[in-house]
Amino acid sequence: MRVRVPEEGPHRATYMRVEHRLLALAFGGIPLAMAQTNNSVENMFKPVSTPAQHIVDVSILVLAICAVIFLIVGGLLAYTLVRYRRRSVTDEHEPAQVYGSNQIEIAWTVLPIIVVLVLTMATARVISAIQNRANPADALQVTVVGHQWWWEFRYPGLGIVTANELHVPASTATIQKLTFLKLQSADVAHSFWVPRLAGKTDVIPGRVNTMWLEPKQTGTYLGNCAEYCGTQHANMLLRVIVHTPEEFEQWAAQQKTAAVVDPQVQNGRALFLSLSCVNCHTVSGTTAAGTFGPDLSHLMGRETLASGAIPNGVTNLRSWIQDPQAIKPGNLMPNMQLNDKELDQVVAYLGSLK
Amino acid sequence: MSSIATTPNIEWKMPDRGRVGVICLITTETALFTIFVVAYLFYIGKSLTGPYPKDVLEFPVWATIALLSSSLTVFMAEHSVKHGRMGAFKLWLGVTILLGAEFLRQTGIEWYQLIEHDHLTITTNLFGTTFYSLVGLHASHVTIGLILLLLTFLISLGGGMKSQARRFEFLSWYWHFVDAIWIVVFTVVYIVGR
């Protein structure tokens, strides 16, 4: 069996860390700590959002009931096997031939029915608690568009368009802040899943689904596309960054501004706009208005590239643009065949888009 | 085994295996049509572009009369072959075949109209998609039935059908089934769908 861990390339952990220090030096903006906790364990039993909490509540009940059933039935089975095993190989005597008993049949029909009724009621309660939640006027409205194989996030109320990393405010004791997601797909079926925030909801073309979050704790929460959607389904990762309401306001304000124009990277900018990148990518305030790929206006504000395939940073950005297919085989961004000089310039420009 | 002696010749009759087989066949066929009908109903009024059913569909009166009456004639044919009246059998069988053919001809005309004049093909819109597949699925069943009827007719010309009353019964069941399906298709496509 041939198993290689890639020695070089963006996957390698140590490489990432080196690269993060670089990044931290280059753009002091992103806190080192966050950059280093690139991954975390997303246990569905550690909810930080109301719907996820509801789910855990009912799950515990189900687990408990099933555990009891297992202990009883499994115990009976074990007991029977030991107690009624044939004691000696020579024993040819047939045991008493019993054909059944109606009372017993009725008993073990009725009891399970009761269990099922209990479970059904508990289930129904949680279903309506989650699905029938009204969408208050002051809730944050976000439109999520699934693409092969990345996420687009639109904030119609705020006029923000971004990708792969969803920023939402936390709900505090004083002010309750809900986020309602409108889920749409640009191509095939996907599924939006961030275990610690909520259960999944499919993202289906020709159909609008909704779900809501009420994060109670700031931090970064990871998720995945959970419906098989083609070659790179595995690398259609999600991250939700929960801010305090204040932080969120700042973030939103910063995102609303048009992409920075840094004179130092003028020719990089010119080159980028002259390339066919603009057919697929948007950079606000420029002629680049493509929508086939992620919006790059505030690219460097993201922790990762290519929906979580690699950590963000100049080095990775360069290797991505140099050959996207090497990093995310089969993804829909072609290798643009840029030479080193062009690469440096384009990367320099994109690197300036905070 | 003393017990055996007590029951040497109890009644022991089993149903005809062919009958069971045909019933099974008809059951699955029904399930198949059900799904296509569901798909049709589901897509009623969901076409993004025209032409729409109300613009282009006319009641296939003749086709319906032809097919439904063929149910009657096939029954007569079955009746005659049971009583060994081969002449009558050939007659009724022939009439059935003609009626079936007439039905297909009508369908052909209808489709020609739709394609040539109304420019409705299976690719035009959801109406086209569901219409041609449901009606087409039924028509294909009529065709199969027709072929079998023709074969029986040829055999009967050779005088080979005399002993085959039982077999013909199955064929006539199938034909009745195809008729019944048409009633459903007709209702769904030309009444509900319009």
Binding site: V3, V5, E42, N43, H54, I55, S59, C66, V73, L76, T80, R85, R86, R87, E94, P95, A96, Q97, V98, Y99, E105, T109, P112, V116, L119, T123, V126, I130, Q131, N132, D187, V188, W193, K200, D202, I204, P205, R207, T210, A226, Y228, C229, H233, A234, P329 | S2, I4, I10, M14, R17, G21, A39, F42, K46, I122, T123, N125, L126, T129, S133
Partner: protein
Amino acid sequence: MATADYPLEQPHRATKEFSLPSVLHEWIVTVDHKKLGIMYIVASLFFFVVAGLMAAVMRAQLAIPNNTLVPPEVFNRLFTMHGTSMVFLVGMPFLAGLANYLVPLMIGARDMAFPRLNAFGFWIFLFGGCLLYFSYIAGEGLAGHGSAPDVGWFAYSPLTERAFSRGSSTDYWTLSILVAGIGSLASAINVIATVFTMRAKGMTLLRMPLFVWLLLVVSGMILIVMPPLSAAQIMLLLDRYLGAHFFDTQAGGSAVLWQHFFWIFGHPEVYVLILPGFACASEIIPVFSRKPMFGRAAMIGATVSIAFLSLGVWAHHMFAVGMSARSNMFFAASTMMVGVPTGIKIFNWLGTMYGGKIRFDTPMLWCIGFLFQFLIAGLTGVMLAVAPFDWQLTDSYFVVAHFHYVLLGGLLFTYFGAIYYWFPKATGRMLSEKLGKWHFWLLVIGFHLTFDTLHFPGLLGMPRRIYTYPTGRGWDTLNLVASIGVVFQAAAILCFVWNIVQALRKGKEAGDDPWDAWTLEWATTSPPPEYNFVTIPEIRSSRPLWDRKHPEDPDWKYE
């Protein structure tokens, strides 16, 4: 004794001289239900090994994070082919094989109702199977895209539409399954006709062995649930070849409709797969507990109600597609309800063993493993049935663990039990108990290493159908352990293959009735003659051979 209208001397085959071509020819042209049954089962085991090896490759790829053993597109083909093969080319033919071989023997018939249709069914199934694998060499298609299908075993639209799946790989999936489905229908019709029209004198419906009852129900289900899949597949073909729009979301087609059609087939299908397993358990457990089946009538009733209930639960595979709260509640409730009749079955098997004298021969071991594992599998099923819980679990590795528990820990275990139980009847030779126990324990260890473990990555957010995963999300160790389990499973399968080979070469003579059993198949020779029975004993109860062995207190006194 009602003597048969057949000569009493042994089958002429015994005297015929042996030559490979003549034997091959004999097997290819045969319409004998026993030969066809064996062919079905051999084909099924062959595809099992192939699909199993694919699984082994998948586990190797997933053993460590960021692994590059296989590229994404290859991995996607692997799980599609693995899943499709296991369901349609392993599960279905095995049940057809059992039905073909055993039903006529158990009801004292001399063949199936439609022997030629039967042979047709087998060959068309085999053709379908080969067609599916042919895609590996021919799937390139005109556009030069894809090889084997890579859309997953339930091929959700619109991923299967031309726009997203070019080339012809998806068409190979569609056509081969369509064709194999015709085979299943053929054998289903055959079983039903045989059971209703060819039972031996005195074999009333209520005296039929439970095995026959369950296969009758399964066949009935196949008649009703196969067509929805075929219909949907025909629509898909129309979309891909004639430009229809059934599932074309650009033109207003519905992606969800495909899901409904598929699962209207797909869920009952899983019971179609497991009921034959129940059928085997219902024959083996009584014999090795030395007691009649506890609550026969209840077992029959439970089976029938499972069949009916299973038609109304399909959308529990779709809790996350955004159905109304009301539909989610309905399907959650109906799904849990299925647990009740299934429970009745488990309890009745328990009741059969309770108070018996349990013999731990290999066939019984498999059934005991089945009981424990299916209990757990069913309970994880109930967790999935709780819609909100499912919003977290669906399409995660928890689901993968659930259905391997039912299919491998449940279905496959009973099937291995069935092989150890009826192999002597079919070949006249015993399988080695020693190798059998190795086979059993290795598979138990491997199975639990792999699939107990796989529940947890699901709870930690690991989706299914991913060709690789990043490190640091708590999935690494669990996946490694799961992959190690496969080594044991593979070893177990090798023991099994070796056991068969050995038994065929020099297994010890079985005799007519090695297990001291009670159903009709043990009343004839091993292997049975072409016409099955020289004389068919009069049937007066559900255990004719018990009556014969214990004339002092026969069953018919009580039934």
